[in-house]
Amino acid sequence: MDKEIVFRTEDLTKVYDTGEVKVYALAGVDLDLFAGELTVLLGPSGSGKSTLLNILGGLDHATSGKVWFHDRELTQLRDRGLTQFRRDHVGFVFQFYNLVPSLTARENVQLVTDVARDPMRPEEALERVGLAHRIDHFPAELSGGEQQRVAIARAVAKRPEILLCDEPTGALDSATGTQVLEVLRGVNDELGTSTVVITHNAEIRKMAHRVLYFQDGKLSRVETNEHRLSPAEIVW
């Protein structure tokens, strides 16, 4: 049975024009991402991973080429359409958590549940990431791993179809990093959320269904894991 395609890109290109030089962040990328799949994007800095993630998530516009989300061509959407797309379908997790410092854990999650169509309760989302006991703490009162877990709770609270994670463990030590990956794996397994994880850490590829390697703005190689490891088994 063919797997359902969530994202498809065709000759996707992004050029940063500084006036003096043109930098090709993405130089014609063609790829498919499948429903329910946990995909890891690997590659050195500047290889185009984050740019791809931003365009997939509707945070940025492509210079040329096309992106489809199911049957909808995202590259046709204007700002308003992209906002609606993000609001309805995408959850983001960032390297630096990006929690609002003036809001508690619960309220940070509430930021999403306030505008989502069919969200879970903030408490439920936080319970899912194991932070039920830290629910009324402000970001400054939480450790890095806890903050990232709040960020994940915030991302999944709206039951998104896709979860896009840019270096989710980049700022964490290995023990907390593992906890965060456990949470991501759990979301992927239990909720069936298609998950894309960008990382510098090659070991993390072992928990993915598929690994996409990027080099100089291009997709250089695709690898499929026959046998996935659990985060706890990954050593880094």
Binding site: L59, T83, Q84, R86, R87, F92, E107, L111, V115
Partner: protein
């Protein structure tokens, strides 16, 4: 509550000090607006109600011994609704225990007891019995000042006959809200009063049975007084009428008009300044907040919040600041407005105060406050909305510093690195630096422009009392007196010098410009009452034409060399073409001067005198005053020294209140600008300043960068502030100028230096408060956080 609303509320609480500093500036604008409009409206309404309830007349005219039959003719004039004839005169009172002769304006009460027009309000006691010959009523302020109660007796010198009368009651009249004695500059309730006496008795004493001296008219609603006035002038000219006037020229009403207009002027000058600064402050602070919250903005967008949501979020933040400002402004404005209206009502002796809260004023001032905040925040809020989510998530590019000629110049003067940092920052953000300078300059200007009054008044006092009016006392007569009156005056006890002066009334015309003026006929070389030019040089009236005060010349649109048509009225009447041969600068009235000899030739009459100026030997003061109370023809006297003291006292009380208010306003602006400026500096440079500390700079050295930049801006603001202050003061002086007086623009160095000291002091305190936070900066955490 939505999470976004919670964030809004927490952000607002976190920014409370900055928000309050802005809100207070806005509150000042709202309060002044409310106060000026509230007060002027209250005074307007109180006056209008008082006028209406007590049938304040529309037209007033003085003449001498007009036969009563004329009244019937006048009553039939078109537009006249009611006319009332009165017998009037000036008289001197002899009050027990008071050495000074006291002048009163005596006016008759009709046979019916209660006047038809200008109906007095009985405040205490009763009205005099119309048939009594020894009963009088006094205006309340005068009675209070002299401790004269119903039942008290006093002596009045009427037409040379001294008689004892009893005070029956205290009155207030819309005609005499502002009572100013002949020769005085401000109301002096102790030495000048209004006295009502039954017509029958007064007419008998003054030989006016079947005749009147004064007429007041009520016109039909909406009827133009001009044709009535022209007709009155024609009818009454044979009786020495000085010309009829409408309300605008009625002294009491004109003074109140002037005061109310001053209040309205304030409402137009000050609030725009405060609201303008509010716009700038909100702009500066919101700009910084949006910069700091780039990642949060990106996040909100990543989460699916729309551009409008984000834009509104920041506009609501400024709206909260506005709400605080408007509420404080409303509270302070209501309090000040009501308090000051009461003070003014008291000063004017209104019998009551009508203070209606006008919701319009509240709504307009509130909307202006919110508009200022929104206008200030809109640019940043739009920028936040426009930030693309991907850009927002990455840190902003560091500001571009390029080497320019300024850097080469700075390098040449070899300033220290911290100084370099200060200067570069000013050069890189020139608009912000310029706006901060402008803000503090406006604070300086408010202090300069509010403080110029005392200096101007010093000049007025010097000009009016030391240079122009050097006499110790002025004696007035009810009629023109022959020259021999001067000889009589010289024989009074203690009189050292006596000089005469004659007043004539005329209407001056040039093309379609027309002005009623009092013309002074002067003897050359008069030493006691002089006409002085701006250099302090006494000037004699020209013998070949008329000399005009500059304000009068401006109103008639004439200059030296032009000719005016002068239609003289009263006992010396006739129409002449007079060349304007000189102009002078004057602060009081609209002066016009003729040479006495020239006037005598024009009218083909011998010299006469309206007043006598005298200097006195203080040793004979009591004898002089006693003699004044007996003089038959004397209409009154004014003691110039008391006049001056009264003037200074009244003025200095008012100035103390207003100066205090303006210092508070100036400090509010400075704190608003300097505190917010320093907070933003600290926020932008926390990392930079922490790095310097890690590199081994001392707290003082790092603090210097923060304090230095703001104080440099404050210093640069001074010259601009002085100039703006001068400009605003000029505007205020011009707008306060009326026919009654002109305010000279006098700005002394002390005014500028005081304003600068206040602003520099307030700026230093504000920035030092922020500097204390610099000491608490946690070096490690600052360096670890991601910008």
């Amino acid at each position: 509550m939505d999470a976004l609303d919670i964030k809004l509320w927490r952000d607002f609480k976190r920014l409370w000090a900055q928000s309050l500093a802005i809100a207070l500036v806005m509150a000042a604008g709202v309060a002044v607006l409310l106060m000026s409009f509230g007060m002027s409206k209250a005074l307007d309404e109180t006056r209008d109600t008082y006028y209406e309830r007590n049938r304040f007349a529309d037209v007033f005219v003085d003449a001498r011994s007009v036969p009563m039959s004329m009244l019937a003719t006048i009553q039939t004039l078109e537009g006249v609704a009611a006319a009332e004839a009165r017998v009037t005169t000036h008289a001197t009172l002899d009050i027990d225990g008071k050495s000074r002769a006291t002048v009163v304006y005596v006016n008759s009460l009709p046979e019916t007891g209660v006047p038809l027009l200008n109906v007095p309000i009985l405040r205490r006691g009763t009205l005099p019995d119309p048939n009594a010959s020894d009963q009088v009523a006094l205006n309340e302020p005068f009675a209070k000042a002299n401790d004269l109660w119903p039942g008290d007796r006093l002596a009045i010198n009427l037409n040379g006959t001294k008689r004892e009368v009893t005070v029956t009651g205290w009155l207030l009249s819309p005609e005499f809200i502002y009572t100013i004695g002949p020769g005085s500059l401000i109301p002096d309730d102790e030495d000048y009063g209004i006295l009502w006496m039954p017509e029958r008795a007064l007419a008998a004493v003054l030989d006016r049975t079947g005749a009147f001296d004064n007429l007041t008219l009520k016109l039909r609603p909406g009827f133009d007084p001009k044709p009535v006035i022209e007709e009155l002038d024609r009818l009454l000219e044979p009786y020495g009428s000085w010309g009829a006037i409408d309300r605008t020229e009625q002294v009491s009403n004109a003074f109140i008009d002037g005061e109310i207009n001053q209040l309205k002027t304030l409402a137009y000058i000050l609030p725009p300044v405060f609201l303008g600064i509010t716009v700038f402050l909100v702009n500066m602070v919101m700009g910084r907040i949006v910069t700091l919250e780039r990642t949060e903005i990106g996040l909100l967008k990543a989460l699916g919040y729309t551009n409008l949501d984000v834009c509104l979020h920041y506009l609501f933040l400024s709206g909260l600041v506005a709400a605080v400002g408007v509420v404080i402004g409303w509270a302070a404005g209501s309090w000040l407005s009501f308090g000051l209206a009461k003070l003014y009502a008291n000063f004017f002796k209104f019998p009551y105060l009508i203070y209606n809260v006008s919701w319009n004023t509240y709504i307009v001032s509130g909307l202006l406050g919110f508009a200022a905040a929104t206008f200030g925040a809109i640019r940043s809020a739009m920028a936040a909305a426009r930030l693309s989510p991907a850009t927002a998530m990455s840190p902003p590019a560091p500001p571009r510093f390029k080497r320019s000629w300024i850097d080469r110049a700075l390098a040449a003067v070899r300033v220290s690195q911290p100084t370099m940092m200060i200067l570069r920052s000013l050069i890189r953000w020139p608009i912000r630096a310029a706006m901060s300078i402008l803000g503090m300059a406006l604070a300086v200007s408010i202090l300069v422009s509010s403080n110029f009054f005392p200096d101007s008044l010093d000049v007025i006092i010097d000009s009016a009392f030391r240079q122009s009016n050097r006499q110790h006392a002025v004696l007035f007569f009810n009629d023109l007196m022959p020259e021999s009156a001067l000889e009589e005056a010289r024989r009074l006890p203690g009189v050292l010098q006596a000089e005469g002066q004659q007043y004539l009334t005329a209407v001056f015309r040039k093309d379609h410009y027309e002005k009623r003026v009092v013309v002074e006929a002067r003897r050359p070389g008069n030493d006691l009452s002089r006409v002085v030019d701006t250099n302090g040089q006494p000037i004699d009236a020209p013998t070949d034409g008329v000399m005009l005060s500059r304000r009068l010349a401006a109103q008639l649109h004439v200059g030296v060399g032009d000719t005016v048509e002068a239609e003289f009225r009263g006992t010396r009447h006739g129409t002449f073409e007079l060349p304007v041969t000189a102009l002078i600068t004057q602060y009081f009235g609209l002066g016009a001067y003729l040479d006495q000899g020239m006037a005598d030739r024009m009218f083909q009459q011998s010299s006469q005198t309206s007043i006598v100026n005298v200097t006195l030997d203080p040793a004979f003061d009591e004898a002089f005053q006693e003699r004044l109370k007996e003089l038959p023809k004397l209409g009154g006297s004014a003691m110039m020294i008391e006049n001056r003291e009264g003037f200074q006292e009244t003025i200095s009380q008012n100035i103390l209140i207003t100066t205090t208010i303006y210092v508070i306003l100036g400090v509010l602006i400075t704190v608003g600008v300097a505190y917010n400026g320093a907070r933003i500096q600290l926020s932008e440079r926390a990392r930079e300043l922490a790095s310097l500390r890690i590199l081994g700079f001392t707290r003082a050295e790092v603090g210097f960068i923060l304090v230095g930049e703001i104080m440099l801006l404050a210093l640069l603001a001074q010259p601009l502030g002085w100039w703006l202050g001068w400009a605003i003061a000029k505007l205020m002086a011009e707008s306060f100028t009326s026919d009654l007086y002109a305010i000279p623009l006098v700005l002394k160095p002390a005014t500028f230096s005081q304003a600068s000291l206040v602003v520099l002091g307030a700026a230093l305190v504000s920035v030092l408060i922020v500097r204390r936070q610099l000491d608490r900066l946690n070096l490690v955490s600052v360096m670890k956080t991601r910008e």
